[in-house]
């Protein structure tokens, strides 16, 4: 018997893997991928809870979060390309111009 809780626990596991990936990776492209994984986990819990309460609202939120994710990826990868063009590296440890 698969209940809504199974989906919520799975979604929290995927979210945590995304958080750990953001913390340990040094490559900004992989960090973006981990952020996408976290967004997907949130979407999964939206759909599961929408199904649990018999409403379509959860799927509406997923549609909007998808559009936001697409916009975020387009702008973020543009920023990465611009950084690579000016600094010749994308190691996240060496991009510290705004730190001081």
């Amino acid at each position: 018997m698969i209940t809504t809780s199974h989906f919520l626990v799975l979604s929290s596991i995927l979210f945590t893997i995304g958080v750990v990936g953001v913390l340990i990776k040094r490559n900004p492209i992989v960090i973006f991928m981990c952020i996408e994984l976290m967004l997907n986990a949130a979407n999964l819990s939206f759909v599961a809870l929408g199904r649990h309460f018999g409403q379509v609202n959860g799927q509406m939120y997923v549609i909007f979060s998808l559009a936001v994710a697409a916009a975020e990826v387009a702008v973020g990868l543009g920023i990465i390309v611009a950084i690579f063009r000016s600094k010749e590296t994308i190691n996240i440890d060496e991009i510290n111009l705004m730190k001081y």
């Binding site: 698969i2 893997i17 750990v20 913390l23 991928m33 199904r51 649990h52 509406m60 697409a70 611009a82």
Partner: protein
């Protein structure tokens, strides 16, 4: 009714490919692991009777977004595994410890594991995740989704302009 065997197969596959995405040093392999996770999540959407979202997941995430990722990886020539050395010996253990404590805190909160059975009655579970159902709900008179929908189009326009300005050498 969700088949338990199918659920467990795809749950294990999703978690393993997500872990592979984080663990591998090669960005292209990370992208392939992420595509696998997206496909598994699409299967879960079908299980939860959200067919339209599942199709959009495959088309937008596994199609468009991942192609964009691979394109940037190829463009910046990061495909080589030794392209970026992972430095810092202290950071991964701390991050993994924090992640484990985070998931323990999430699961110990007890609201995820034992969700209170205030679900809708069974007759509410009509097939509403089809394209027709989602479209009718999105543009219904008594639903507040039309304004966010228009805002989304504006957001995408801003993203297009921002991406062009970021990628352009001289404006």
């Amino acid at each position: 009714m969700i088949s338990p065997i199918l659920f467990w197969i795809f749950a294990v596959l999703a978690v393993v490919s997500a872990l592979f995405m984080v663990a591998t040093p090669n960005p292209v392999r990370s992208a392939l692991g992420l595509v696998m996770t997206f496909m598994c999540v699409a299967v879960f959407y079908v299980m939860l009777s959200a067919q339209f979202i599942a199709a959009v997941q495959v088309i937008v995430y596994a199609g468009a977004i991942m192609v964009l990722f691979l394109f940037v990886i190829m463009l910046l020539n990061l495909g080589a595994p030794e392209g970026l050395k992972e430095r810092g010996l202290l950071q991964p253990p701390i991050a993994i410890t924090l992640g484990i404590s985070f998931i323990i805190a999430l699961l110990a909160s007890n609201s995820l594991v034992s969700l209170q059975g205030k679900g809708a009655p069974p007759e509410m579970y009509k097939p509403q995740g089809t394209t027709e159902g989602v479209g009718l709900a999105l543009f219904a008179q008594n639903q507040p989704w039309v304004l966010p929908f228009e805002m989304t189009s504006f957001l995408l326009l801003v993203a297009v302009i921002g991406a062009i300005i970021m990628a352009k050498r001289k404006i």
